[in-house]
Amino acid sequence: MSDTKTVGGGGTKLLLARFRLFFILILLMAVLSVVSPRFLSLENLSNVLWSVCIIGIMCSGFIYSPITGGIDLSVGSMVALAGIIANVLMNIVHMPMLPALLLTLVFGLLVGLVNGVVTTKFRVPPFIVTMAAKTYLFGIAMFVSNGDTITIMGPKDFLSIGVGKFLGLPIPIYIMVVMIIASHILLKHTVFGRRAIAVGANEVSAKLSGVNPDSTRILAYVISSGTATVAGIVMASLTQQAYAPNAAGYEFDVITAVVIGGTSLLGGSGSVAGALIGAVMVGFINNGLNLMNMPASFHPLVTGIVILIALILNQGFTLPAWMKPKKRAAGGQA
């Protein structure tokens, strides 16, 4: 095996892990296609990707927060807030679409900047900073929208982002794929990617090697918030709605996807492709349960169990002690 793939946090083990994940995905698909004959239809798979795209887009940027050893719990609220702000700019301030969306994005980036600065410069743990941000961004979303469930009526171009199709596939899927690929390149092949991994692996060591841990981290949160904003815009256009409690709890779905994908919450390693597989896996499970018309009560149960199994399989299967074959005592000669 060539060494070239193993640089920067790789290692042969991780490479194997990545393949393993892929096999788990195939396994899951096989199971689902047996359970529900409709599952493997092209149309259904495209529908699943469509329903996964919000989470997928969020994952592409979110992943940098765990890689640098932090976490960004505010992304769910940011998605909702982005939709509300975009709507205010387009339909209340009556800005043209493009500037309005750009301005929304700028706002998202600023939120990330605040998260990043507070964690790095003021040394507040990221879990707390972003949990607080999750809370106050939700508050701001409620405040701005006056708590309303807003139905977005226009502009036409905006609405077609979410439901429009290109070559038979919904546009959000393209957005997701592009962002995932960009993020993959960013992580694996750029200086920033290397720095993010280094900061997550050992901040002091990274610092002594000339990496500025603070600016690396800040950038990680900016990217995370930025992609959440994009996800929010896509979601608003997809559902033609802006509502503060929308996407509440999505941060947990994103974390789940990313962790299934082999990213360590302790920092220093991560895989964007893995995160996408993780997101698709969760999407498949939900879709499969829907196709089977499984009662709603069983969804969280099944999802939770499948997640645990996937994690255990992905990590390299360890048999519990009581299941292991009993070994004879030392070396046989005792």
Binding site: V124, T135, G139, L301, V302, G304, L311, I312
Partner: protein, 353 residues
């Protein structure tokens, strides 16, 4: 120690100040009824927060507490609806629910070495599902929330004098847990497990046992809170407690237990819980837009922790500098003497400063 104490004093001071402002702005704040319901609210969160503090001390996290509340409530309702078992018998049994969940969490965390966050998140999902599945159904198969009328069960929502029982239980539990942490070997082991698990293991501590212990205790506390919540509301819903994780985490963190493990105690958590409950009550009392509440709570958490970090650095700086000065003047002389002895035939003169 003084660092933590002073921080606590400041927080208590702040608590009193906010209380004073509130009672000035809204006379109904100081009414006994209001204070007691405030304490009741705080105690419900607080009981869960006590368990959560132990988890945080081991540098873990427990996202399943909300779902444990839901499942425990459902277990109780099942006992009430389908069995003749009296409340004083099935309540202890239902407290086992949380312990079992803790066992489950502990198993996956210690055996498979999966991250605590993701394990407890997964069990949160699983439990939320179980809560729905075991929820009491009407004849058409739809979930229906039982109206509890069992007097023994409902007495848990009652008061002794003006004080709610939940508050008394909270205070007693806080005392016991604090004593356990500081005065038993198991307590010390929990701190060691959080501060440096590798070193703890090398010192002969069974860190897995500590981890099992804290998650089971955390589950137990959540189950306990579930009894009080459902007794107060005279019903149990399968979505009880879901989402309350954030309040619990906020209380513990405001109380001064960090995420890094190895540090923290129960009194901090008690104060943190009171603080959060006071803020919530205050916002309601002042008739501020309800949407300001999340903004304010989020803001306060950041400010408190920011202050914490700044203050810790500040106090440590002072301590270090004074230690350095002491060292420069006093201990240096001793070191000189020692080194002079070690160096055979030293002919120089010892320096005194």
């Amino acid at each position: 120690m003084p660092i933590a104490t002073l921080r606590r004093m400041i927080l208590i001071g702040l608590l009193l100040a906010i209380g004073a402002v509130l009672s000035f702005l809204n006379p109904s704040f100081l009414k006994l009824d209001n204070l007691m319901t405030l304490l009741q609210e705080a105690s419900q969160t607080g009981i869960v927060a006590i368990g959560f503090t132990l988890v945080l001390i081991t540098a873990g996290i427990d996202m399943s507490i909300g779902a444990v509340i839901a499942v425990t409530a459902m277990v109780c309702v099942n006992f009430l609806s389908y069995t003749p078992i009296p409340a004083f018998l099935f309540i202890p049994l239902s407290l086992l629910t949380g312990c079992l969940v803790g066992l489950f969490n502990g198993y996956f965390i210690t055996h498979f070495k999966l991250p605590e966050f993701i394990v407890t998140l997964a069990s949160r999902g699983i439990l939320a599902g179980i809560a729905l599945i075991i929820a009491v159904k009407d004849s058409d198969g739809f979930v229906s929330n039982v109206y509890i009328q069992d007097p023994v069960y409902l007495s848990f929502g009652g008061t002794v004098g003006p004080v709610y029982i939940v508050t008394i239980v909270f205070i007693v539990l806080a005392f016991l847990t604090q004593f356990f942490l500081k005065r038993t070997r198991a307590g010390t082991n929990i701190y060691a497990t959080g501060a440096n698990p590798a070193a703890a293991r090398l010192s002969g501590i069974n860190t897995d046992r500590s981890i099992y212990g804290v998650y089971m205790f955390s589950g137990f506390c959540a189950s306990l809170a579930a009894i009080f919540i459902s007794a107060r509301m005279m019903t149990a819903m399968p979505e009880f407690g879901l989402g309350s994780e954030m309040d619990v985490i906020a209380s513990v963190v405001i109380g001064g237990t960090p995420f890094t493990g190895g540090v923290g105690d129960i009194w901090g958590t008690v104060i943190g819980t009171l603080f959060l409950a006071l803020i919530k009550n205050g916002i309601l009392k002042l008739g501020i837009s309800p949407y300001v509440q999340p903004i304010a709570i989020g803001g306060i958490i950041v400010v408190v922790v920011m202050f914490d970090v700044w203050y810790k650095a500040f106090a440590e700086g002072i301590a270090k500098r004074s230690a350095y000065r002491r060292k420069q003047s006093g201990e240096a002389a001793a070191a000189v003497a020692a080194e002079a002895d070690a160096v055979a035939g030293g002919d120089g003169k010892g320096e005194r400063s």
